[in-house]
């Protein structure tokens, strides 16, 4: 059975650190960074990239539309 | 010559709108101007010319519908009378701030408050100085005949689009309700959408095509610096309007010693007063501002060189008289005569008021002359004594 793998790219400088994507991700891929970006916000990043299925849950709810989602079949 | 018709001033506005290719009228009933909307709904131009006519739920809705339409680059207008125009002040300030071309008609009635429905000219300040907030100017046209009510619709739109600025036609209940002969102009077809886009594509909202950036109509600037810039731009535009668009009329001013300044209905009354006065041998004339902004300050200033005094006649407690005074700048006496609250001053009372002014001025002049003569005589006497 083909597995689906995904990945997201967060536009770090535009992320406002609202944590909504982290909350929305069904597979707990995302978490907030320790560092802050130029605007002083900690930003979202893939903490567990392997778990990402590219389901777009995060990008669906990101208020600042800063998440790009990629998906591919593997295997 | 175009077709002649006997029309009410209000009807003339409506007919002119249809004929000059107006795209949309939005209004709300109020005496003494309801005939504009009534005429338009009766004529129902939409199937013929495509002009939209809509009775709005309020004056505020109407002016904001005008905002929407004219921000599309369309020729849109509204009309009301004094209380209704007061309600539109926020909208008017927005239209001026966003630099939209629009025509607003005020058929003035007596105020303040609910007041009366009879004619008045007590909305001069509101129209000319700015009833709404902020530093803005309307181009203000003041017709004094039904023909001008007709003509100034097309003219109003022309100026509105030339400067992307709201134009106010300041009429009153008398001109709105009276009938006169009107020479109608031919139907000018409304601009097609393509033409509208061609003419206003740089700023109006028509839906963004591939080839340009999105157009935005707004009067907002979150930062004061660009807002000041915007205001500078507006002030420069107003200056340009002052230089190019001044309209006024002189009547029997060549030899006039005393001059009326009056606009709209009052100017007609003054003309009669001049006729009556000239029959009595008084050298009277009138300067009639046709545009109230820009105001004919220069012609009045110039006239002040020869004229002995000015009488500003308005159906108000004295509003335009301030602009006459500002123009004359202390050179000559300027007085005001007015009836208000819906009353129309009769030509003979106007003449009387002028005669009083004349008497006052001449008495003063005489006193001055006498004083001078006396002084001279005294000097002479002194000399002789010596």
């Amino acid at each position: 059975m083909a597995k689906i793998r995904g990945a997201v790219v967060v536009d770090v400088e535009r992320c406002k650190g609202c944590v909504i994507c982290v909350n929305a991700c069904p597979t707990n891929v995302l978490n907030m960074s320790k560092e802050v970006n130029g605007k002083g916000y900690s930003y979202s990043f893939m903490e567990n990239p392997e778990a990402c299925t590219g389901c777009m849950s995060c990008s669906m709810v990101c208020p600042d539309v800063v998440i790009t989602v990629y998906r591919m079949k593997v295997g | 010559m175009g077709e002649l018709r006997l029309m009410k001033g209000n009807e003339a506005i409506a007919e002119a709108a249809i004929r000059c290719g107006c795209d949309a009228y939005f209004g709300y009933p109020i005496t003494p101007q309801s005939e504009i909307l009534e005429y338009l709904t009766l004529e129902n131009p939409e199937p013929k010319t495509g002009m939209v006519v809509l009775q709005a739920e309020s004056e505020i809705a109407a002016i904001n519908m005008v905002y929407g339409s004219s921000a599309c680059g369309k020729k849109a207008m509204t009309s009301s009378s004094s209380p209704g125009i007061s309600l539109k002040q926020e909208g008017i300030s927005y239209i001026a701030g966003a630099e939209l071309p629009a025509l607003i008609v005020n058929v003035v009635r007596g105020g303040p408050g609910l007041g009366t429905i009879q004619p008045s000219q007590s909305d001069y300040f509101q129209s000319v100085k700015g009833g709404g907030h902020g530093d803005y100017k309307l181009i203000v046209l003041a017709p004094n005949s039904v023909q001008e009510q007709y003509d100034f619709v097309a003219l109003g739109f022309e100026l509105a689009f030339k400067y992307r600025n709201p134009v106010l036609m300041l009429s009153d209940g008398a001109i709105g309700q009276m009938m006169e002969k009107v020479e109608l102009t031919d139907y000018i077809p409304r601009l097609t959408n393509e033409e509208v886009i061609k003419r206003t594509g740089s700023w109006a909202t028509h839906g963004k095509p591939e080839y340009r950036k999105h157009n935005i109509v707004t009067s907002l600037n979150l930062q004061p610096e660009p807002q000041e810039q915007h205001n500078h731009h507006l002030q420069a535009k107003y200056k340009e309007i002052e230089e190019n668009e001044l309209r006024y009329e002189k009547f029997q001013c060549e030899d006039a010693e005393y001059v009326f300044v009056a606009y709209g209905t009052s100017s007609r009354l003054c003309q009669k007063a001049i006729q009556l006065g000239r029959e009595k041998g008084l050298k009277l004339g009138i300067i009639r501002p046709i545009t109230l902004f820009p105001y004919p300050s220069k012609p009045i200033k110039k006239a002040a060189k020869k004229v002995k005094a000015f009488l500003s006649v308005e159906m108000s407690a004295g509003q335009m008289v301030e602009d006459v005074r500002l123009a004359v700048n202390g050179k000559r006496p300027v007085e005001h005569y007015g009836r208000y609250g819906g009353m129309i001053p009769m030509p003979d009372e106007i003449l009387e008021a002028m005669e009083e002014l004349i008497a006052k001025v001449e008495k003063k002049a005489q006193k001055k002359a006498e004083k001078k003569a006396k002084k001279k005589a005294e000097k002479k006497a002194k000399k002789e004594q010596k």
């Binding site: - | 002649l4 018709r5 009354l269 009769m346 003979d348």
Partner: protein, 184 residues
């Protein structure tokens, strides 16, 4: 020539439309005209009056205090406008409902029993046309042809069949008007 006229009476008497037809007729003769109604809440039921000016020159004031001719159709208007006729001017009135007939001696006074005539014509709606006839007899500032054209202009197409009737009424008015008193 400038003729300054006030027409005054009750709301339902056709005062405004009579003025309109007169103005239209003047227009047909290439004259300048103005028609200025007193409007307001009194319109409903109360009195109605209109100032009509017909002139060879551009008309200045559309409202006046003194008139060349006053056409008066009820007592209230008589009280208000009798004094506004210029010395040597003309007052035309219908005596129906008039309790105090005009008393001025420095003007020409004409009587038109328009109500009577209209009743005789079995059409009270032509009342105002009878009055118009009376006026035009006294002051032929426009001729019947002009009035004809004026009527056609001011009536909607579907009422054009009434033109003849109106003309008849005007003629009747012309015949019925009587000089009551010459200015002294």
């Amino acid at each position: 020539m400038t003729e300054e006229i006030i027409i005054a009476g009750f709301g339902g008497q056709g005062v405004l439309s009579m003025g309109k037809i007169l103005a239209y007729s003047g227009m047909m003769k290439d004259l300048e005209v103005s028609w200025m109604p007193a409007y307001g809440p009194e319109m409903r039921g109360g009195t109605a009056n209109v100032t009509v000016i017909v002139s060879q020159e551009r008309i200045n004031s559309p409202v006046l205090k003194m008139y060349d001719t006053a056409i008066i159709l009820n007592q209230q208007s008589m009280d208000k406008f009798q004094k506004s006729v210029k010395p040597g001017g003309i007052l035309i009135y219908d005596n129906n409902g008039i309790i105090h007939p005009p008393t001025r001696t420095d003007i020409d006074i004409y009587l038109i029993e328009a109500n009577k005539v209209a009743i005789q014509m079995k059409n009270t709606k032509v009342f105002n046309m009878v009055v118009l006839g009376a006026f035009l007899k006294v002051k032929p500032i426009v001729n019947l042809d002009d009035v004809d054209k004026g009527l056609k202009k001011s009536l909607p197409e579907r009422h054009h069949h009434l033109v003849a009737l109106n003309e008849e009424a005007i003629r009747a008015g012309m015949e019925a008007v009587k000089l009551q008193q010459k200015a002294q």
